[in-house]
């Protein structure tokens, strides 16, 4: 092959190579997901099952509202905990592990932009969180469904002389209002959104962190400050009151730098039977997208020319 021909083939290849390719991102994301699954992370499902089945049988002497509430509290609490741990620890492990296994060099020596690598990793971890939440939700909804029917049967049995149709209908309405409702899915979605933002934070930290431990600790600190930042805002800017410049400056810094994770805590209300509007849900989804875009950009800026 002549030198000119080689040159033209090279030019063709350069032209064919897209700046951003979804298929490349997907390949990295899927690989990340597989990599995490191979770490046997799904063993957590055993713990989750024990937790919710335990919550189902331990509190039988309570009223049905308490019983169902405890079941929902334990399940949502466990989902929040597992989703947050997965997103922070999983993301913190990714880049150091790729460096350690030398996979990172294999990937980056190919025509894969670093931005795609980071986005792929983030999508992979978010996908893992989503799959784990779906699995937990299935188990939770199944247990809740059977429990609510069990409670209904018990309550009907307790009525002396047999329940009338109207009584049965009333009991069904009251018990099922505390049982499986479509709003619970929105609660799970809110947990997922919060975990996605936490993964974004961990990704930013991991691009400049010197160790996995450092990434986990810093991300956890940000996670907790993120929950308290709305309180800082309320404290420093109570309605109708103005504070000193320094206080406002500190509150401003906290609000600007740290994500507001408290915003995603809606399942407390959903558990007690409140409904959330679709507008509000779309707002939360939009804000999560906004956070992830910005955090991916920052990660790329910090990671683009990093010596590996």
């Amino acid at each position: 092959m002549s030198a000119d021909k080689v040159k033209s083939v090279k030019e063709d290849l350069v032209l064919q190579h897209k700046l951003f390719s979804l298929s490349r991102v997907w390949a990295i994301a899927f690989n990340t997901f597989t990599q995490l699954v191979r770490m046997k992370v799904f063993y957590f499902m055993l713990i989750f099952s024990v937790l919710i089945i335990g919550a189902n049988f331990l509190f039988l002497n309570f009223t049905f509202e308490q019983e169902l509430k405890i079941l929902k509290d334990v399940s949502f609490g466990a989902m929040t905990l597992f989703a947050s741990i997965f997103s922070i620890v999983g993301t913190a492990l990714l880049i150091p592990k790729d460096i350690e296994d030398r996979t990172l060099y294999t990937i980056l020596t190919k025509p894969v932009p670093r931005f795609e690598y980071l986005v792929g990793k983030l999508i992979g971890i978010i996908f893992l969180v989503a799959v784990s939440l779906v699995l937990m939700s299935f188990l939770f909804f199944a247990v809740l469904y059977f429990r609510q029917h069990g409670i209904l049967a018990e309550e009907i049995k307790m009525i002396r002389g047999g329940a009338t149709d109207a009584q049965k209908e009333y009991l069904k309405e009251t018990i099922f209002a505390q049982g499986v409702r479509p709003e619970l899915i929105l609660g799970v979605l809110a947990i997922f959104l919060k975990a996605a933002v936490a993964a974004g934070v961990a990704l930013v930290v991991s691009t400049f962190a010197s160790s996995t431990l450092f990434t986990i600790i810093v991300s956890l600190v940000v996670y907790f400050i993120g929950h308290a930042q709305s309180l800082a805002l309320e404290y420093y800017f109570p309605e109708g009151q103005m504070h000193g410049a320094l206080q406002r400056f500190i509150a401003g810094i906290v609000a600007v730098v740290f994500p507001n994770l408290q915003m995603f805590n809606i399942f407390d209300g959903i558990i007690t039977g409140q409904s959330i509007s679709t507008t509000l849900m779309f707002r939360l989804i939009g804000l999560t997208g906004f956070y992830l875009t910005i955090y991916s950009m920052i990660s790329w800026i910090l990671f683009a020319k990093k010596e590996l």
Binding site: D268, Q274, R283, K305
Partner: protein, 385 residues
């Protein structure tokens, strides 16, 4: 040569440093810019969350004092509902140990953590106004020390009753859309304070909630019927309830029947005492008169004029009116039985009525019926002798 190398190396380090600083600075600028863009959106979202009832708890200093450090952090970190349930369990344990101070404390925590969950308020009111109250009442009855008994009766019992009422009222403010807590307040006024007027007000409030079962409105009617000076108002409510249930699909409850009879008797007796015979006659004979106008006239003839014969004729008219409640038939037969000549005939009719509609016989009616039966039995025996 070395100097040139050193200078070159230094310049690379400086370049790299300035490069990484530039990137860090750029990241901070993006983060800051993003922060300024998102803060108004987030504040607006928080406002929406508040409006939709998702921000019913704020971790204030008083909340920090109530909770342990771990619980406080957990509550901020998104485990508020779970922490509330844990305190609920602690309250339950304290209830089992009869540690009422702890019950009050833990119930205070659960209600402050999740004020929009009606059951927390309900349980708090129940534990204090009923359980703690009953505990001290029992203790005061069995106490050997008079001072101790007095303290429990006059300090502890009213204290827990008030606390329970306070919880129920606060809950009703937090969850106004639910019938339950207003009903709990009404129950406390009815069963503990024996105040039918306040109880009826709260039952009415409770019955207006969308999820209120029909018995709450009936409880309102019953309590209103017990309020002195509100008989007319109570009659309006009870009679509409009576008519809607009697001619509707739902079964009439015994309480509504009893209240209806008592109120009609009260109204008839008041009119009988306040109005003249002519006035009552013209009211009964006018167009559009009701069976109640006849009942007023009948009552006047019975109680004021003491004319049983004419009164019986009036009561016959009432019984013929299909709108009149069935208890007027019982009344008529009871009046008939006052005349020894009609006793046997009245007894047979009453017996049939009792078999057909036992619900229209009150306790005093059954006593009278038994007396009648006894006297008839005795006279029959006398005749046989």
């Amino acid at each position: 040569m070395d100097i040139i190398r050193k200078e070159r190396a230094l310049s690379i380090v400086t370049k790299l440093k300035s490069y990484s600083y530039r990137r860090l600075l750029l990241s901070l600028i993006i983060l800051g810019g993003f922060g300024f863009v998102r803060i108004p959106i987030e504040m607006n979202t928080e406002k929406m969350l508040k409006e939709q009832g998702f921000r019913d708890w704020s971790p204030s200093m008083s909340a920090r004092e109530q909770l342990t450090q771990a619980s406080f952090v957990g509550s901020i970190g998104g485990f508020r509902s779970l922490i509330a349930s844990i305190y609920d369990l602690r309250a339950h344990q304290a209830f089992r140990d009869k540690d009422w101070a702890s019950v009050e404390k833990f119930r205070g925590v659960t209600t402050s953590l999740q004020p929009r969950f009606a059951k927390h308020w309900d349980l708090a009111a129940w534990d204090l106004a009923w359980n703690a109250y009953a505990y001290y009442r029992n203790k005061s009855e069995w106490a050997e020390d008079g001072v101790e008994s007095w303290q429990m009766k006059n300090i502890m019992m009213p204290r827990y009753l008030e606390k329970g009422l306070e919880f129920a009222k606060q809950g009703a403010e937090w969850v106004p859309e639910s019938y339950r807590l207003s009903m709990v307040v009404a129950d406390i006024y009815s069963q503990k304070y024996n105040d039918p007027e306040l109880a009826s007000q709260w039952y009415l409030k409770s019955s207006q909630a969308d999820d209120a079962p029909p018995y709450v409105f009936r409880a309102y009617a019953t309590h209103l019927a017990r309020c002195e000076g509100k008989e007319e108002e109570a009659y309006e409510v009870t009679s509409s309830l009576y008519r809607s249930t009697r001619f509707g699909t739902r079964a009439l409850t015994l309480t509504v029947r009893r209240d209806m009879e008592r109120l009609e008797d009260h109204i008839a007796l008041s009119a009988a005492n306040e109005m003249s015979l002519e006035q009552l006659e013209s009211a009964a004979l006018s167009n559009g008169s009701t069976y109640l106008d006849y009942a007023k006239l009948g009552m006047h003839l019975l109680e004021v004029k003491k004319d049983l014969k004419v009164a019986l004729a009036v009561y016959r008219e009432i019984v013929n009116d299909k709108k009149a409640p069935l208890f007027y038939s019982r009344k008529l037969l009871m009046f008939l039985a006052r005349n020894p000549a009609n006793q046997e005939q009245a007894y047979e009719a009453l017996k049939k009525l009792l078999k057909r509609s036992p619900e229209i016989f009150r306790r005093q009616d059954l006593i009278e019926f038994t007396k009648l039966e006894t006297s008839l039995g005795a006279s029959k025996n006398n005749r046989e002798k």
